[in-house]
């Protein structure tokens, strides 16, 4: 029941998105223009500033993530569909998981485009340890999206929601961005600092476990009016 509901919510979001493509394309465009602005600022005469690549990748992901979260739930608010979803006789944490999966997938797609662009523009060897990088990105995205989905869902009912989302989200998820960022930097060193990257991956797993548990635990009472 739980898994089925979550997958149904995911399928619903996926079908809408596959038809319009609105959120994916706008998020991608925003993320890419973000990276381009950074490239204009930090690449001087073909030589990027030292160590900028990892930071810019993560900043672009987080900014784009914020935008995607806002848009996803704006769509739910527009036709009051979130209320309908919550009224459905299904476990509410399952609805949360469905929405979370949708956002994580969307952000991972964005990252697939972003990583090569950052690697190309900032001359960073992001592909020397692809598995490590993938682990960092997936875990970091889950950590960010788990808190983001919870807050964005709650903010649907509040005015000033566009301003409130980053205010709520960034202080809590900065540890995630720091862990992802420093883990990526460790991968970019030559020789690659593997123990350091593993430490940050382990820490990301800790954060993800704490955040997802708390969000699942709080989603039901928080969404009850």
């Amino acid at each position: 029941m739980f898994v089925k509901t979550a997958l149904l919510v995911l399928k619903k979001d996926f079908t809408i998105e596959a038809k319009s493509g609105e959120i994916l394309y706008t998020t991608l465009f925003f993320a890419v223009s973000c990276v381009l602005i950074f490239a204009m600022a930090f690449v001087k005469e073909g030589e990027p500033v030292d160590g900028a690549g990892a930071g810019i990748l993560w900043i672009a992901v987080f900014f784009a993530g914020n935008l995607a979260l806002g848009r996803t739930f704006e769509r739910e608010r527009y036709a009051e569909t979130l209320r309908a979803l919550l009224l459905a006789p299904a476990p509410r944490p399952a609805i949360y998981v469905g929405k979370l999966l949708g956002i994580v997938l969307l952000l991972l797609l964005t990252e697939l485009v972003l990583v090569p662009i950052v690697a190309f523009l900032f001359h960073v060897a992001l592909f020397t340890r692809p598995l490590f990088l993938a682990a960092l990105l997936v875990l970091g995205t889950i950590g960010f999206a788990s808190v983001g989905t919870l807050f964005a869902a709650m903010l649907v009912r509040t005015r000033a929601r566009d301003v409130m989302l980053p205010i709520l989200l960034y202080p809590i998820t900065i540890p995630v961005i720091i862990a992802g960022l420093l883990g990526t930097s460790a991968l970019l060193q030559s020789p690659v600092d593997e123990p350091m990257a593993i430490l940050w991956i382990a820490l990301l797993i800790c954060f993800d476990a704490v955040f997802v548990t708390l969000a699942l635990w709080m989603f039901e009472p928080l969404m009850t009016e």
Partner: protein, 228 residues
């Protein structure tokens, strides 16, 4: 009710007097404590720095617990307690960051370093500033949002505490405090004296703040009654 209120009132003033006396005596006690062998006079700031963070810990724990109780039981008192504790977290956090910064200037030569403990402490402060912002500008329904904020904030606090043990950071480890009782009992006594004074101050401020929130809620209720 009136009698209990009276007694509470008296107890409050007695506690306030005790706290004032303790803070008046604290500088004397700190001056009398032995000098630390490497840092000498600068180390004296430690007595207030450590105490502040202990008061902050109490504030974070109360905010987290209060938020959780409000979320699951819907108790308005718990919400007021959490709100008051969140404000005090910001206040004590600011004091802790400033006192730490002053100490760092002398001990490490920099006002600020992006060291793990310092960064995590700053983040904790940011989470609770976010809490207050949401509370103030979130409009209707902001209580629940700030509640989630309080719970997440309290959940990150253990990471702040353990950060010094996990990484080799410039900040002293938590074990320094545990061994202080044996290495320098005199310093240890002064530290706990100051900590107790700060905790008392925290309790007093918390009581005042919760009381104020209760008055506000009462006022709102009366307005509604008058209009209806």
């Amino acid at each position: 009710m009136g009698q209990v209120g009276d007694m509470m009132n008296k107890a409050f003033w007695v506690l306030a007097a005790v706290t004032a006396l303790m803070f008046a005596y604290a500088p004397v006690a700190i001056a009398g404590a032995p000098y630390e062998s490497t840092m000498l006079l600068v180390q004296k700031i430690f007595y207030f720095h450590f105490s502040t963070w202990m008061a902050l810990t109490a504030a974070v724990v109360i905010c987290g617990t209060g938020s959780a109780i409000y979320l699951f039981k819907g108790s308005a008192t718990a919400d007021r307690l959490a709100f008051a504790a969140a404000e005090l977290t910001v206040v004590f956090g600011a004091f802790g960051l400033v006192s730490g910064s002053l100490w760092a200037r002398k001990a490490w030569g920099h006002w600020w370093q992006w060291d793990n403990r310092l960064t995590m402490a700053l983040l904790l402060e940011l989470v609770f500033i976010g809490y207050l912002l949401v509370r103030k500008y979130g409009g209707p329904g902001a209580e629940k949002l700030s509640t989630a904020m309080g719970i997440f904030g309290a959940a990150t606090a253990p990471f702040v505490y353990k950060s010094v043990d996990w990484w080799r950071t410039i900040h002293p480890k938590t074990s320094v405090m545990r061994s202080l009782g044996t290495t320098s009992p005199e310093m240890w006594r002064v530290v706990w004296f100051c900590t107790f004074a700060f905790l008392l101050l925290f309790t007093l401020l918390l009581v005042v703040r919760v009381h104020l929130e209760e008055r506000r809620a009462e006022l709102d209720r009366l307005y509604l009654e008058a209009e209806g």
